[in-house]
Symmetry: C2
Subunit: 267 residues, 2 copies
Amino acid sequence: MAQDHRLRMAAGDIADAAVRGRAMEGADIVFHLAGVLSAFAEQDYALSRRVNLDATLALFEAAGAGTRIVYASSIAVFGAPLPAHVDDRTPPEPALIYAAHKRMCEIALADFARRGAFEGIALRLPGIVARPRGAASTRSAFLSDIFHALRRRETFTSPVSPLSTFWIMSVECCVDNLVHAARLPLSAAATGPALTLPALRLSMAELVAAVARACGVDAASVSYAPDPETEAVFGGYPPLATPLAEKLGFRSDGTADDLVRRVLATR
Amino acid sequence: MAQDHRLRMAAGDIADAAVRGRAMEGADIVFHLAGVLSAFAEQDYALSRRVNLDATLALFEAAGAGTRIVYASSIAVFGAPLPAHVDDRTPPEPALIYAAHKRMCEIALADFARRGAFEGIALRLPGIVARPRGAASTRSAFLSDIFHALRRRETFTSPVSPLSTFWIMSVECCVDNLVHAARLPLSAAATGPALTLPALRLSMAELVAAVARACGVDAASVSYAPDPETEAVFGGYPPLATPLAEKLGFRSDGTADDLVRRVLATR
C-alpha cells in the first residue's frame, strides 16, 4: 500500500499533534479510521481515552471549515444484549469502553458540524472482512479466518454455532461507502449525524456455505465448536434496518455470494 | 452557606486536580454540579471542553469503587427544536456545546458505572428557580427574576409571551431529588443511566398567576414584551413524561402554587 504513488505515509502516534498535523496537512477530506480496537480498549481505559477519545477530539478541533471528516464509528455503540430489531431509531447503549468513546465522538462530531467548524459524517461500520490473517486477536477474527482457511483448503473450526448471526461487510464495500460519504452532498440536515451502514445479516451457516462454494470445498468440512463467550457476543445479531443510510446511497454487499466474491478477489 | 458547620469549602478550579482532590477527599457521595453554563460554553468551546468535559472525566477517573457520583446533567441534551412530546425514550440530540458535553459525560458515567468503577447516576435537571438575582445573565434568568421582582412589588416585563411553556423545578425540590439519588438503592440495571427528572410544565401565564397570587399582587401588573430569540428557546417546551424517574421515587414540585411557595420560602 505504501508503494502507491498517490499515497504519502505519515506513520506515528495519532495522539501526537505533530503526527496529526503531518497527516492532515492540506487535506480537504479526512477518513478517520485510527483507533484502539474494542478488546484492547476494554483492557486499557487510559489508552482508549488517549487514542479513541482525546486524539479524535484533537483531530476535530484542528480541522478547518473547508474540511470534510468521515469518521469511522461502529455498530458496537448499540451495546449488548441487542434489542430484537435494530434500526435508525434504536438508541445506542454502549457496553464497552470502545463503544462509549465511539459514541462520545459521534456526539462531538455532530456538534462541530452543527457549528460549521467542518463538514462531518460518522458511519457505523459492521464487521469488516477479511482482516489480514492474525492481524489482531480480536474475538471476531473467525469472520476473517474462515476466508483465509478455506481459500488454502485448510481445516476450519467455527467458534460459533451454525445459526449464530452477525452484521458483515467486505472491505471493498466498506471502502465504497467511505468514498461515497466523502462525496455525498451534505445538507445542513444531513451533516453531523451518525449513520448505521447497511450490512448483510448472515448466519455462520450461510457464510460457511458461500465461502465453501466460492473456494470449491465441501461446507461439511467446517466443524463447529461454539465457545460460550464468543457465542454471547456474536450469537444473535438481530435484523437490521438502515433506511436513512440507504436513502443517501450507502450500500451493503447485496448477497453472501457477492460479499465472498469481493473478499476473495482481494489479497 | 460557608458558615454551616457541616460544610468544608474547597474553592478553586475544578479542572485543577489538586482542587478536585481536596473537594473529594474522603467523600463517599459526590454531587457534581460544577459547570460552565450553556451561553458561556457556546461562546468558548475550549472552556467548556476543559470544565464540562475534561474535568468531569477526570473526576470520574479519580473516583473509587466505594463512591457514588450524582451527576447533574440537563434537559439541554434534548436539543432544539424539541419533538412534540418528550419521554424517557426520546433520543437526546444536543444542539449546544454545553449539551453535547453533558451528553458525552452521561455516556462516560454509564460506562464507568457498568464497569463497577463507582456507582453513578445522572439526573437531567430542568430550569431551576430561583437563581440569585443577577447571578448569571443567562437567557432563562427571567424565570428567576419574576420571583425577585414580584416579591419586592417591582414591575416585571416578561421576555416571552403568556402561552410560552417551559419545564421548571424549585431549588428545594431539586435538592430533594439530588439527595434521593444519593440514597437510592441502585441495582445493576439502574446504575449508570441518565434520568430525566419529573418537572412541572408551566406556561408563563400560569407562572405569573401563581407568583402574583403568592405575593398578593395583580397578575395584570406584569407586562409582556416577547423577545424573538428568548421565545425561540423558551417558547414551546412540549409535554414531558418521566415514568422511569417517577418509578424510582423522583418528584416534581406538584403544582405551580407548591413550586412558588417553596421558592418564596427561600431567600
